[in-house]
Amino acid sequence: MGLPIANGNPGATAAGTCSGSLGNYFNGWFTFTVNTWGSTANISTEWPSLCSGQASFSTAWVMIADPDLGGWAQAGYIRTQLWNLDSRKLYVFSQYRRAVGFQPITKFFSPGPPNDAVRSYTARYNPMSRRIDLYYEDQRLDTTNFDPTAVWSQPWSSQWSEETGHCQTDVPGLPLDRVHYTVVRQQHAPGGPWQAPIGAQFGRDCGAKYATQQVNQTAFDAWTAAP
C-alpha cells in the first residue's frame, strides 16, 4: 500500500540529485520474438520520487512497438515537471511515434490515477480503423495517425515497463509498496483474444537501483530497490 495521498504527495521519500542529461531508463517485461498486436495490463499506482537539480520523469506504462523500436504507441501514468506539468500530480498519458524521424505525439490527461488505485492500460491494433488505439480503463486516450502495418514488420514488441529520465529518479514502487502489473496479456492476432505473454524477458537499467520479480505467467512486480 502506498502513501495516503489522493493525487500528490509532498511527503514522498527524496531521490538523489539528477546526473547527466535526460535519458530513458527501463524496468519491466518485454517480448520481441512473437507476433503481437496488443499489450494490456492492470497497473497499481505508486508515487515516485524525482531526482532534484533538473527536470526528470517517472512513469509506468504498456506499449507495442516496431521491431527496430523506432516507432511505438504507449499508455500509462507519469509524474514529471516536463511539458509544463505539475509535478505535485500524477497524469495519465499517451504517446506514439510512427518511426525514426517523426515527431512523437503526446497527450496528458488530468486527473491521473489516485495513489494505490489499480487501473488498466492498453495499446492495441484496431483492425477496423487500422490504427493503434490507446486506452485508460474504458477511455480511449488517443488513436495513431498512421497504420502500423504499413510501416512496421512483425514481430512487434510488447512491453510492460516502468521508465525514468535519470537513474537517480525512482521508478514507481518501493520495496514495501511495489507496483503490481497484473492481468499482463498480449494479442497474437489483430483483434484476437488476450493471452499470456510468450517469451517475455525482464529488462532493467541503472544496476541495482530498480527491481522486478515475476509473480506468475501474467503478473510481475516492479519497484525501486534502492530509493
Partner: protein, 163 residues
C-alpha cells in the same frame, strides 16, 4: 525532503509578466472580454494529429469565467517550461477531442471533451522528450505545447504536443 524543484519558476513568471506587459504597452489591451489579446494564430477547424475539432466560441464567449490572463496563468502555473519557451497565443474556442472518449454498447463514440468552451494556450520552444524509447539526439523533438484550460473552471483538461 520534498524533491519537487522548480528552477524555472521565476523565469516562467517573468515570461508571463513580460508577455502581458509588452502587450499592455503595445496597446493591445483594448479587446473586449473573451477576445484574445495575444497574436492569434490561424487555428484550423480540425487538427488531425490530436483529433481536435476547433470552432469559434460565438456567443458562448460571454460565458467564460476565466480571462485570458487567468488562462495563461493557469496554463503556466506549474512545471518546467524549459529554456527558450515562448508564449505564442491564447485563444478562446469550442473544442471537441474526437480521439479521447469512450464507446457505448452500440459502438457510438462519446468524446470526453465535447464542445467545451476552453482556452487553448500555446507555447513553442518547450522541450518535449520522448517516453518509451530514446528520441535520439539528432532527431526532431516536438516543441509546441498546447494547454487546454476549461474557461469556466480554470482546470487544465489536457496538455498535448505533436510538432
Amino acid at each position: 525532503m520534498n524533491v519537487e524543484r522548480r528552477p524555472h519558476g521565476r523565469r516562467r513568471a517573468a515570461l508571463v509578466i513580460l508577455v502581458l506587459g509588452t502587450l499592455a504597452v503595445g496597446g493591445l489591451w483594448a479587446g473586449t472580454a473573451g477576445e484574445s489579446r495575444l497574436p492569434v494564430y490561424p487555428a484550423p477547424t480540425f487538427l488531425a494529429d490530436p483529433g481536435w475539432r476547433i470552432e469559434p466560441p460565438g456567443e458562448q464567449a460571454a460565458l467564460a469565467k476565466l480571462s485570458e490572463a487567468d488562462a495563461i496563468a493557469a496554463a503556466t502555473a506549474s512545471g518546467d517550461l524549459g529554456d527558450g519557451t515562448k508564449l505564442l497565443s491564447a485563444q478562446l474556442v469550442i473544442l471537441t477531442d474526437e480521439h479521447y472518449g469512450s464507446f457505448d454498447a452500440a459502438g457510438v463514440f462519446h468524446p470526453t471533451i465535447d464542445h467545451r468552451l476552453v482556452w487553448l494556450v500555446r507555447t513553442t520552444g518547450t522541450p518535449v522528450p520522448c517516453l518509451g524509447l530514446p528520441c535520439g539526439p539528432d532527431e526532431p523533438l516536438a516543441s509546441e505545447l498546447n494547454v487546454v484550460v476549461d474557461a469556466l473552471t480554470g482546470d487544465v483538461l489536457q496538455v498535448a504536443s505533436w510538432r
